[in-house]
Amino acid sequence: MRTYELMFVVDPRVSDEEVVTMTQDYKNMITAGGSQITGEENWGRRKLAFPINKVNEGKYVLLYVGSETGKTALPAVEHRMRQNDRILRYLTVRTDEDLKRAARRQPAKGSAPAGERERTDGNAEPEEEV
């Protein structure tokens, strides 16, 4: 299954209820496109690291999307976000490959340290000989 994370930053002048309806809109688009919403996080109002469009704060929303077929409505959602000037930023990231790689590396870790060499001792010794 492919998994994605979709995060977007909304203008803080938009009310919380409106953010919820906007989010619901996007969620409907995603589910209509044949994917599931596997999680949702609302970070609320947060200070931006730098002003965007002369705005210093933003409301962060994060959606986790899962898709069995690999076909999603995400491009369409991104398109909508691009046209919505109350969305300051958005970012879609495909996460399944990286998470899988991370999970694979975790159990292999136990055997790895055997190959690790302690080089600090080897370098110091030749200097001691007269």
């Binding site: 995060m7 690291a49 730098f50 933003g58 962060y60 930023r89 970012l91 200097e127 007269v130």
Partner: protein, 77 residues
Amino acid sequence: MARARKVFFRRRKVCKFCADKIDYIDYKDVKLLQQFIPERSKILPRRISGTCANHQRPLQQAIKRARHLALIPFTTD
């Protein structure tokens, strides 16, 4: 006789991600990323942080993603 003895005890740098077994570097983990962006908000080079190449790459990607979302700054002035 004075023997030029150079005994350096340089602290061996270890990759933070290898040590802590962090395999997925999340762009949302601002606290973690902040350790790799010093004062000028540049990405800390490997030669200083000691991060291994295999972890520096996803770290760099995560920092850039976080920057795009204004979670961490591009520069400080």
